[in-house]
Each structure stands twice: as C-alpha cells, then as structure tokens.
C-alpha cells in the first residue's frame, strides 16, 4: 500500500501525524499551566493576605498595650502622655483597617473576626477611663484600673488572634499540598506523551526510508553493472512511484545499449553490411556508429583501388584525429613517392651500367701500361742497391776514424790532469815564499830595536860633550884644547844620530818592498788557482768531446748495419715488383669478367623499368 504512494505524499503523511502529536502535547501542557496559575492566585488571595493582616493586627495591639503602660507610668508628664495617646490612636486605626481586610478574605468562620472586633470595642472605654484617671493625676488608681480590666481584655484578644492565625496557616499548608500534587500529575502526563510521540516519529521515519532505499539500491546495483559494461542486466519494476519509473527507463536504455553492442560486434568482425538506425536525432551513439560504418566503407573502397595499382587515390580524413584516415593518406602518399624514387633509381642504374662498361675497357688498357712501368722500376732498384753497398763501406771507415779520435781525447784529458797537479805544486811554493818574506820582515824589526839603542847612546854622548865643554870653560885658558875635543865628541854624536836616521829610512823601504812582495805572491797564487780552474774546464770539454765522438762512432756503426739491411730490402722490393707484374696480368682477366657482370646488370634494369611502369602515379 505504502509503495504505491508517491514519495512526496508519504513524507507529508508522516510529518503531519508527528505535528498533530506535538499540538496535542502542547494543549495539555498549556491547560496544566493555567491551573497552576489559578492555584497561585488563590494562594495569594486567601491564606497569604489573611496571615499578613492578622500578624499586623497582633503587632499593633501589642504596641497599643505597651503605649497604655507608658500612659500609666509616665502620665504625669504631659508631653509623654500626648505622644503615647497619639501612638495608640494610630495603631487603633491600623488594627481596625486590617481586621476588615482579613475578614473579607478569611475562608473560615467570619464570626471569629467579629468577636475580635467586639473585644477591641470593649477595650476602648477601659482605655478612656484609664486616661481620664491619669489626667486627673490619680496615677495609682489608673494603674490599678489598667491592671484589673485592660490586661485581661488584651489577653483575650491575643488568644482570638492566635486562633485565626493558626487557621490561616493550616489553610496555606493545604494550598501548597494541592499545588504540588497538580504539578506532579502534569509532569507525568507530559513525559508519557513526549515518549509516545518520539516512538511514533521514529517508526514513521524508518518505514518511509525503507520504502525509498530498497528500490534505489536495486537501481544502483544495475547502474554499477552497466558501468562495468554488462548490458545483459535485466531491470524492471511494478512500482508506480518515481523509482519505479527510473528503473523502467534504465531497462529501456539497457535494451538500446544491447542492440548497439551487437552492431559494434559485427563491425568488429568486419561485417560492414550492418545497418545502424539512430533512435532519435540526439542519439549520439547511433549517429557515431552510423558515420563510423560509412567512413570504414569509404576507406575499404580506397584500399581496393590502391591494391589495383591506382596510386592516385586521395583519402580525406574524417577529422584531425582520424588516425586511420591519416595513416591511409600518408600510406598512399608514401607509396607514390616510393614509386617515383624507384623510377629515378632505375634510370640512374641504366646510365651507371653503361659507365661501368666503359670504365672496364679503360682498366684493361691501363693494366698493360702498369706491366711496362714495373719492369722499369726493377732496373732502378738494382742501381739503388749498388749505391747502398758503397755507403756501407764509407760508414765503416768513418767508424774506425772516430775510434782513434776517442783515444786521442783520452790522452789529452790525462795531460790536463797532470797540468792541474803541477799548478797545485806551484801554489804550495808560493805559500812558502810568502812565509819566508814575512819572516824577513820580522827580522828587520829587530834591526830597528838596535838602531833605537844606538840613537840613545848618541844622545847621551851629546850631553857628555856639553858637560865636558862646561868643564873646559871652567878650566879657563888651560881648558881650551879640551873644549875642542868636547866639540869633536859632540859632532860625532850628531853624526851617529844622522846615520841611525838613514838606517831607519832604509828599513822603511825594506818593509814596503816586503809588503809588495807578499801581495805579488798572493796574486800569483790566485792566478795559479784560476789556471787550475781553467784546466779543469778544458779537461771537462775534452771529456765531452770524447763522449760525442764516441756517440758519432756508434751512429756510423748503426748506419753501416742499416745500409746492410737496406740492401736486403732492395732485393725484396725486386721480388715484390715481380709479383706486381703477375698481378696486373690477373687484373686484365678480372676486368673482362666485370664487363660481363655489367651487361647482365643492364638487362636486370630493363626488367625493373617494366615493373615500375605498371603503377599509375598521376
């Protein structure tokens, strides 16, 4: 039943039921709420107001009583009395007002309230009497009066008030109990209803979901198989809802696909006779299949023509991405190009074969020329051989000469070494000479010492001569001869001094000469050293000369041996030329064979030209 409804109707029905439930629960809750409100109003109206008013009454009665006590106690003070009386009046007014209020709202017996009022009325004259007594100054009587009448009355009033208060408190208690009961029941009912509504909503949701998801799953399975290319799947439904319609449409699509698949299979097997009719103008598959068949047929026709040798076929590709068409086009083009190239090659081949034939005849004539040249070469080789022998002899002589030169160089080196030894001897002698000269110089120093002594002696002699002259002068005339002698002695002393000065001069000359001699010896020694060095260099040069002469002698030896080898080589060349002569004869024979081959090549070329002409290119 549910399956035949549309999904929209199903959803509306389910949601409607749930909304109804919610409205119902809301109404019940509202009703309970209003009941609770009324109860609260009653509670305020009756027990609360009464209790408040009675409490107020009680308080003011007590205040009046206390004020009366003040009147009795301090009545003689006029001001206090007036204040107390004012308080009493105010309180009395409040008491009467509140009593009236309590009476209106009181739910119990109203007589109790009336009785309190009566008692209040009775108390009034008693108070008046007491005040009067006070005013008269009879304080003791007033106190007695107050004690006898007022206290009793006030106690009665208080008892009555207490009773009323108790009653109203009890009433308030009963109100609270009633309110709590009502609230509890409302809560229970609402909870049950909400639970029921939730259950119902869940059930409805499950039912609707199941009715939609079941058929959809079937459709998804079918679509999955279709996506994998399985067109054998069977899809159908008796349901009248949207999913049923969807499934039926899918069934139709599958049938159409199956038909297309069959057609494609046949095309794949090469059957181009298949007729494909598109289901509608928008049937992309059908139209494509149709154009594919047409294009394949066109290609097949072109291929037939190419097979028949008509290379002029021009294949137009269906689009830029038509690989088969493009391949066909390029194949036809390539075949055309190939054919043209083959034609050209065949032409070239024909001319080449002709050239080969002429070349071969030239070859034959040149072979004859080669033979004559070879014999001339042979004669030349013989001449070269004789020259080689002569060279060999000469190089032998050079070798001997250089051997001798080496011996001479060795002798020269020995001489140089001896010269060096001699030079060294000279150097030693030079040293010896220098030593001796220095010794002589030292000896002449001793001579200088002797001269100094002689000089000193001359000096003293001179002095002595002076003294002698003095003595002679003292002797007067008798000492004249002595004075002459003294003068002579003085002269001798002077001469001695001069002689020593001369010797000193000569010694100076000797010293200078000695120094010059030593310097000359040193120069000689240096010259000898340089000589030694130069001799060494000369010896080295001679050694090098000897070595290089030895090298060249070795080289001449090598030249001699290699000329020997050259002679042998010449002999071998003569033999080789002989074989070249034979080979040129063979060449002649070979050229003849080549001529025959060229001819057959020409014939082959004729055949090829015939074959190529069968293809039409333009």
């Amino acid at each position: 039943m549910l399956n035949n409804l549309k999904i929209r109707s199903r959803l509306i029905a389910g949601f409607g039921v749930i909304v109804l439930f919610l409205v119902f629960i809301g109404a019940i809750s509202l009703r309970n709420l209003s009941a609770q409100g009324e109860l609260l109003t009653d509670f305020y109206d009756h027990p609360f107001t009464v209790t408040y008013a009675i409490s107020n009454v009680q308080e003011h009665i007590l205040r009046m009583h206390r004020s009366m006590k003040d009147v009795v106690l301090y009545g003689n003070e006029g001001r206090e009395l007036e204040a107390a009386l004012r308080d009493i009046d105010t309180s009395e007014q409040i008491v009467y007002r509140d009593l009236a209020l309590a009476r209106d709202h009181f739910l119990g017996e109203k007589s109790k309230m009336d009785r309190i009022r009566e008692l209040m009325d009775q108390w009034k004259p008693v108070r008046a009497r007491t005040v009067e007594l006070v005013r008269q100054g009879k304080m003791t009587e007033a106190a007695v009066h107050h004690r006898d009448f007022a206290r009793q009355l006030v106690a009665k009033i208080d008892a009555e008030v207490q009773e009323v208060q108790k009653f109203s408190t009890a009433k308030a208690q009963s109100f609270v109990t009633q309110s709590q009961t009502s609230a509890r029941s409302t809560y229970a009912v609402t909870a049950v209803l909400v639970a029921l509504a939730a259950l119902f909503a869940a059930a409805t949701a499950l039912a609707i979901t199941a009715s939609i998801v079941g058929p959809l799953r079937k459709a998804v399975d079918a679509a999955d198989r279709l996506a994998l290319g399985d067109v054998k799947v069977e899809i159908g439904s008796e349901c009248q809802d949207e999913i049923g319609q969807l499934l039926r449409a899918m069934g139709t699509m599958v049938a159409s696909l199956r038909h297309l698949g069959d057609s494609a299979s046949r095309i794949a097997l090469g059957d181009l006779q298949v007729v494909v009719t598109p289901n509608s103008e928008r049937d992309v598959f059908g139209v494509a299949m149709q154009s594919m068949v047409a294009s394949l047929k066109r290609l097949a026709t072109s291929a037939d023509r190419i097979a028949a040798g008509d290379l002029t076929v021009e294949v137009l590709p269906a689009s830029d991405k038509d690989q088969l068409g493009l391949s066909f086009q390029s194949m036809a083009k390539n075949l055309r190009d190939l054919n043209l190239e083959i034609r050209e090659v065949v032409g070239v081949l024909a001319s080449s074969a002709g050239e080969i034939m002429t070349t071969v005849s030239e070859l034959a004539s040149s072979s004859a020329e080669t033979a004559s040249s070879v014999s001339e070469t042979n004669a030349t080789v013989q001449e070269v051989r004789q020259t080689t022998d002569l060279t060999s002899q000469k190089s032998r002589q050079v070798y001997d000469n250089s051997h001798k030169s080496v011996q001479i160089a060795k002798n020269g080196r020995q001489s140089v070494e001896e010269a060096i030894v001699g030079m060294r001897g000279i150097d030693e002698r030079m040293g010896f000479i220098a030593e001796r000269i220095v010794n002589l110089s030292e000896q002449s120093q001793a001579i200088g010492d002797v001269i100094a002594t002689v000089n000193d002696l001359a000096e003293q002699s001179n002095l002595l001569a002076v003294n002698a002259a003095i003595e002679a002068a003292k002797a007067g005339e008798h000492g004249k001869g002595f004075a002459v002698v003294a003068q002579e002695v003085k002269n001798l002393a002077t001469q001695s001094k001069q002689a020593t000065a001369q010797v000193r001069g000569i010694l100076g000359v000797i010293q200078k000469a000695t120094t010059a001699a030593v310097l000359a010896t040193e120069q000689g020694s240096k010259a000898v050293e340089a000589g030694v060095k130069q001799s060494g260099a000369a010896g080295e040069a001679i050694s090098l000369l000897a070595a290089s002469i030895e090298d060249s002698s070795n080289a001449t030896l090598q030249i001699a041996t290699s000329t020997q080898e050259q002679a042998i080589g010449m002999d071998q060349i003569a033999i080789a030329i002989q074989s070249i002569n034979q080979a040129s004869g063979q060449n002649l024979e070979g050229s003849r064979q080549i001529e025959a081959a060229a001819r057959s090549l020409y014939e082959l070329n004729q055949k090829l030209q015939l074959l190529v002409s069968r293809y039409r290119v333009a």
């Binding site: 000269i437 002076v466 003294n467 000469a513 000695t514």
Partner: protein, 210 residues
C-alpha cells in the same frame, strides 16, 4: 831579494834565476862581514865631515868683550846663560814634586847625593808651557850661595857672544822677563842675567805650612 822579484816581474823573457842567486849571495856576504872600506874611502868621508863641521874661527879681537854662554831652547825660544854660573847639565831623569811651593818650582832631584831644586823658568817668566818631554834637560846654575837647576827643552851648545852686539830687550817684553834679561842678539837669542835671578829674593822659597 824583494827587489829581485820586482825586477823579475818586469822582465819580458824568462827569469834569470842564477843571476838573482848571485846578487843575493853578494848582499848576504856584505852584511855578515861588514863592508871593508879601503883607506881612501875612509879618508874621504872624514874629510867631508870635517869640512861640514868646520866653523870659521873668530879672532878674539878683544877677549874682554866676549862672553862664553850656553844656549838652550825654552818654549821655542832660544836663551843663553853665562857659562861661569853653570855647574853642569844633566837629563831630567827623575824628580820629586814638592807641595806648598810656588808654581815655578817643579820639584827636587838627586844629583849625585846633592839635593837641588828645579825651577821652571817658563812659569817664572809666565811663558806658555810646552810640557815635559824625554829631551828635557836641567842646567844646574850656582853663584856660590844659591844653587838650582833650570829646566830646558833642549841644550843647543856653547856660544860666544860679543857684549857690544847685544841689544836692549824689546819693549814688547814686559814684567819679570824684561827685568831678568841682560840683552838680545840679532839672532833673537835672549841672554839671561842669571846672576840677578840667583840673587833675587823672589826665587827663595820660605813658607811654613803647619
């Protein structure tokens, strides 16, 4: 020998070694024996010397006007002292300086047991000092009572002066020197009046230091 070598180096050809050796032997022989001079040579040498030494003998025209003096050098100037006052000359070998004496007293010296004082006339005359040298001589003068030695740079020798040729001391010389100068010759030889010096009280040193 050195000379030989030097000559040898100048010779263009080879060195004549035998000639060199011979010359050397001759030289060494001469050295060892001493050159034996023949009598003519010796005589010639002596004659030559005599000729050089010979002084023209002045005829003593008037002996009374001549004075024998000893000439000596002092600070580059020549002085003469009358021979009669001179006892002797001696080399200044050793002397002892004396304290508490005037500057002109150089010191005292021992002359064969006699102690004589040495006077430096350069200081006495206030002349520039040359300083002592090895050649310094002392000329001992005496007049019988006073005796001292005069310090001299060197003793030249004996001279005989004509008293008539003596000139008075030039005006440039002043003070002590002029006082003790007897006269000056044309050859700038100053004759000291040694008798005056010897008797001068200034030369007597009498000081007590206690």
């Amino acid at each position: 020998m050195k000379r030989d070598k030097r000559e040898g180096s100048r010779e263009p050809g080879g060195i004549d070694w035998p000639q060199r050796l011979r010359r050397q032997q001759e030289a060494s022989a001469a050295c060892s024996e001493g050159r034996a001079l023949n009598p003519e040579e010796t005589r010639a040498i002596l004659k030559e010397r005599a000729r050089l030494l010979a002084a023209p003998v002045e005829v003593a025209a008037d002996a009374g006007t001549r004075l024998d003096c000893l000439e000596f050098l002092l600070s580059g100037e020549s002085y003469a002292v009358e021979m009669s006052y001179i006892t002797q000359t001696l080399p200044l070998a050793d002397f002892t300086p004396l304290f508490c004496t005037p500057g002109f007293v150089l010191g005292i010296t021992n002359l064969r047991g006699r102690i004589i004082s040495i006077v430096d006339l350069r200081r006495f005359f206030e002349l520039p000092e040359v300083g002592l040298s090895d050649l310094n001589r002392v000329i001992v003068v005496s007049n019988g009572t006073m005796e001292f030695g005069i310090l001299a740079d060197s003793v030249t020798g004996m001279v005989s002066l004509h008293l008539g040729e003596l000139l008075p001391p030039p005006g440039a010389l002043a003070g002590l020197r002029e006082e003790f100068l007897a006269g000056v010759t044309a050859g700038r030889l100053a004759l000291l009046d040694i008798g005056k010096i010897l008797s001068d009280p200034r030369i007597v040193v009498h000081e007590e230091v206690m």
